[in-house]
């Protein structure tokens, strides 16, 4: 078999897989939203405000409800030391956007 045939075959397989990933994404978005609906309903009934992503500190658990100076809450010169502090940017209002 010619080398170019092998190359195009590999490229074709990759393209088909990419198309399959795209179709999977479209399918999940339209058919598998049960969990999303359930979560949204829970947020509404329990009046939740945040995602449960970082439970390491109370001010990282509820990011939107934390004090504006919470990274420095232990004492005035205490820099943020929790790893999740490096994943979240400052609020838009603080950045002046």
């Amino acid at each position: 078999m010619r080398k170019s045939t092998v190359f195009f075959l590999c490229l074709g397989i990759q393209a088909i897989l990419l198309l399959a990933a795209w179709s999977h994404s479209a399918y999940e978005r339209t058919h598998n939203t049960g969990g999303l609906t359930e979560t949204a309903e829970m947020v509404r009934t329990l009046e939740l405000t945040d995602l449960c992503l970082f439970t390491e500190a109370r001010y990282t658990r509820n990011l939107s409800q934390a004090d504006r100076h919470s990274p420095f809450q232990d004492h005035p010169l205490s820099f943020e030391h929790f790893p999740s502090g490096s994943l979240v940017g400052p609020p838009a209002a603080v950045r002046g956007r």
Partner: protein, 378 residues
Amino acid sequence: MRTWIEKQRNIIDFTLSSLARRKGKNVALLLVYSLLVFLLASVMFFTHALRKEASLVLQGAPEMVVQRMAAGRHELIPHRYLDAIRSIRGVSGVHGRLWGYYFDGVTSANYTLVVPEEAAPAPGHIAIGQGISRSRLATTGDMISFRRYDGTPDALIVQDVLSARSELVSSDLILISEQDFRKLFGMQDGLSTDIVLNVRNAKEVPTVAAKVQKLLPDTRPIMRSEILRTYDTIFDWRSGIIVVILSAAVLAFVIFAWDKASGLSAEERKEIGILKAIGWETSDVLLMKFWEGTVISLSSFLAGVLLAYVHVFFTPVVLFEPVLKGWSTLYPEFRLIPFIDPYQVATLFFLTVVPYTVATIVPSWRAATIDPDSVMRS
């Protein structure tokens, strides 16, 4: 057309044979390039899906939360504030919200205790999130012990475990009755954690927020739009770890491109010289180099993007899990819905495939335009 296709195929055959002659170097290049795309695409897919999911899920968050501040910190809010807020025109459905944090010394985890406004558990009972169920090995009917504010022990029966599908918001939740909540934290009647309110006309929310702040200067209103915006800044490119990943990736790519653009190896120059000497046109040499760049960059791009898709949407995001977990002992196990932004994928394509291909062609063009004899001699 057929002749043109055949010519391209012949050049590709030759290019692939040429790449195979430097197998070690090119395989390493392919792997590193794929890894680079994989890393960037993983960050892109993960952050976009998480932001999208947050924006959809948190649409049901309270329209406005009013916190009382004392010495710059969140304080419990007295119920007389409810009447003051109720008097503002346009406000509807004002009530106090009871929630708080409990540090469990047994698992060294922080739990979020919430008193539901509707259908709260009966006194003496709680509903727990999946994360707590896993860490405390507790399920329906089991008892979980707590230590009250004054040190006296309390035991509450698990009446329900919250659904696994909602773990992204409920993993560390404990739903508790108002009576048990107040007993646990020693919170007096007439105090709430904060106040939740609705506004009849959504356009008036900022005006109502301003009125709340004017009427009650020691409060801080948090609007739903602000809650939603909070998650826009998550994994923002300026946040620490993302800057590290991006700068490492960009640096690696610059080294690639620099290596290519700064010139060809003596062997490659000699190859071009021989090809020119046996009758190849400059355009043919450039075409060969174009295919060389395309073979490497397109294969790496497709492989990197596919691997990133599988990594983010089919596995528990192993690459980010340790970073996301941080020092948490309780972490939700969630699977994101694959929301993909085609614009981001296109950007990644143009930022990786195009510069590499161009960087391959430029030095070859310089070598191909020089006299073959001098190229071979140099």
